[in-house]
C-alpha cells in the first residue's frame, strides 16, 4: 500500500543534507510551508540554497532558516518586505549570496527543471542588467535572454488537502508557487491542512497529482508569522 503520510514535520524533513538546493512555495506568508521550514532549521543544516519568491518575514519559515544560519544562497525575486529582518541583517553583513531573478523567470526556470527542459529564452530582462553575462538571441526581430532550468534537491510546499498518495489541492492564492516547486525537485514534501481518505478528492479538482509528491504531513493550523 502506498502511504506517503509522515507523522510529524521532523519526520517529513529527514534525510535532507547540508548544501541542498531547496525550492520553497509561498508568496509572502501565503502558502509558505512554515512548519516544514522550522523543522529544517531545527536540524541545523548548513550551506542550503533556497529558491523562493521572497526572503521570508518574521520568525518562522524562511526567516527562521536565515536567522539560524542555515542558508548560504538565496535565489528570489523580492527579498525585502516588512518583517524581513533576518534577511536584511545577513545582507548588511554580506553573510548571504543573493541572486535576484524576475518572478516569472523563477517560476519558469523551476517549471523547466521539472519538465526536462534544460534552458529556454525569455524576453524578460533583455536590455537590463539582469541579462548581463547571459546568452542573447534574436527571434522575429526581438532580443531574448537564455535562462537555465533550476532543479531542486528538495521542494517544501504547503497545500490544503492531500490523500495518502499525495494528490493535492490548494486554497485560493495560497496555491501560488507551490504546484510549480512540487514539480521541480527530487524530493517533494508537502504540509497540508487536512488528509482525506484515498478517493476523497474529486479527480477534476486535484491541482498537483501524486506523481510529483513524495511525503505529506498533516498540520492543521500550522505556525504563522501573524
Amino acid at each position: 500500500m502506498i502511504d506517503k503520510q509522515c507523522k510529524s514535520a521532523a519526520e517529513a524533513v529527514e534525510g535532507i543534507k547540508d548544501g541542498a538546493v531547496i525550492l520553497v512555495g509561498g508568496f509572502g506568508q501565503t502558502g509558505e510551508p512554515m512548519d516544514l521550514l522550522d523543522a529544517i532549521a531545527a536540524r541545523g543544516l548548513r550551506d542550503l540554497t533556497i529558491v523562493a519568491n521572497g526572503g521570508g518575514s518574521g520568525e518562522h519559515g524562511i526567516g527562521r532558516l536565515l536567522a539560524a544560519g542555515c542558508v548560504r544562497k538565496l535565489v528570489c525575486s523580492f527579498p525585502r518586505v516588512p518583517g524581513s529582518v533576518a534577511f536584511e541583517e545577513l545582507y548588511e553583513q554580506r553573510a548571504i549570496e543573493l541572486e535576484i531573478v524576475p518572478q516569472g523567470t523563477i517560476a519558469e526556470r523551476v517549471r523547466a527543471g521539472g519538465a526536462g527542459i534544460p534552458a529556454f529564452y525569455v524576453p524578460t530582462g533583455a536590455g537590463t542588467e539582469l541579462a548581463d553575462g547571459k546568452e542573447l538571441r534574436e527571434f522575429e526581430g526581438r532580443t531574448f535572454v537564455m535562462e537555465h532550468a533550476i532543479k531542486g534537491d528538495v521542494a517544501v510546499i504547503k497545500a490544503d488537502r492531500a490523500d495518502r498518495w499525495g494528490n493535492l489541492t490548494y486554497r485560493l492564492s495560497a496555491r501560488n508557487f507551490n504546484p510549480v516547486m512540487a514539480m521541480g525537485a527530487e524530493l517533494t514534501i508537502a504540509q497540508v491542512e487536512e488528509c482525506v481518505p484515498l478517493g476523497g478528492m474529486d479527480p477534476e479538482t486535484i491541482i498537483t497529482p501524486s506523481i510529483f509528491v513524495d511525503r505529506v504531513v498533516e498540520i492543521p493550523g500550522g505556525v504563522s508569522n501573524g
Partner: protein, 225 residues
C-alpha cells in the same frame, strides 16, 4: 503652481481609461489604488501576479481568511463572480505571453522612448527587489505608468534617458501623473491632458524631456476622493 491630483485621484483617472473587457495587472504601490477606484458599470478583470484573475477590494464579509487570498502587495482582497485561481507559472504565462492587456506600474524614471526604471536605486544599502516588474514590462500588451510627476527631491521622473537601472527598454505606452497624462509616441511625448491652470511651459519646466501638447488636449480633472 497649480495643485495636482492626489494619488487616489490619479488612480481614479487612470481607471476611467480602462475599456470594458480588459485584463489588467496592477503593480504594488499607487497602481493598486486603481482597484479601489475602478469605474462601476464596466466588467474589468484584474489580474494579480500571485495567481488571481478577478480580484476586487477586500469585502470583510466574504468569509475568506486574509492569508488565503492577497494581491501582489500581500494585502487581502476578495473575488468577483467569475474569478479564477492558478499557479505562478501559469500566471506569468499570462503576463509574458502577451495575454494581459494593460499592466499598471509605478516608476522611478520613464524616458521619452518608453524606457522604464522602477526596480533598483544604485547606492541604496537595501537589497534590490525586482518582483514581477520585468516580466510585466516585457510582456504586457500595454504598460501604463502611474507616478508623481516629480520625485520627493523635485527631480523630474520623465527624462530623456533613464540614469537608473532599466526594468525594460521601450516598454511604456502612457504616463499618468498628478499633473498630466502623457502618451509615449514615435514622435516623442505628447500631453493628452494636463492640469488646466498649469501652462505647457510650467509643465515642461517640471519635466526632463521635451513635451508637445496634443491638439484637442483636455483638462486633467478628478472628483474629490
Amino acid at each position: 503652481m497649480a495643485d495636482g491630483l492626489t494619488r487616489n485621484q490619479m488612480a481614479w483617472r487612470l481607471g476611467r481609461d480602462i475599456a470594458e473587457g480588459s485584463y489588467v495587472n496592477l503593480g504594488v504601490g499607487i497602481p493598486l489604488l486603481v482597484l479601489e477606484h475602478a469605474p462601476g458599470g464596466r466588467e474589468i478583470i484584474f489580474h494579480s501576479e500571485n495567481g488571481v484573475l478577478g480580484m476586487k477590494p477586500k469585502d470583510e464579509t466574504d468569509g475568506i481568511l486574509p492569508d488565503d487570498l492577497t494581491n501582489a502587495g500581500k494585502q487581502p482582497v476578495s473575488l468577483v463572480p467569475g474569478a479564477a485561481m492558478f499557479h505562478h507559472a501559469d500566471s506569468f504565462i499570462m503576463i509574458r505571453g502577451g495575454h494581459v492587456d494593460i499592466a499598471v506600474l509605478g516608476a522611478y524614471q520613464v524616458a521619452e522612448n518608453g524606457d522604464l526604471a522602477n526596480w533598483r536605486l544604485p547606492g541604496s544599502p537595501t537589497a534590490p527587489a525586482v518582483g514581477g516588474a520585468m516580466d510585466l514590462a516585457a510582456g504586457a500588451r500595454n504598460v501604463w505608468v502611474i507616478c508623481e510627476h516629480n520625485g520627493r527631491d523635485g527631480a523630474p521622473k520623465i527624462v530623456r534617458e533613464c540614469t537608473l537601472p532599466l526594468t525594460g527598454p521601450g516598454s511604456v505606452n502612457r504616463i499618468y501623473t498628478d499633473l498630466a497624462i502623457i502618451d509615449v509616441t514615435p514622435d516623442g511625448l505628447v500631453v493628452r491632458e494636463k492640469i488646466e491652470t498649469l501652462s505647457l511651459e510650467d509643465l515642461q519646466a517640471l519635466s526632463g524631456a521635451p513635451l508637445t501638447l496634443a491638439n484637442g488636449w483636455r483638462p486633467l480633472e478628478a472628483p474629490d476622493l
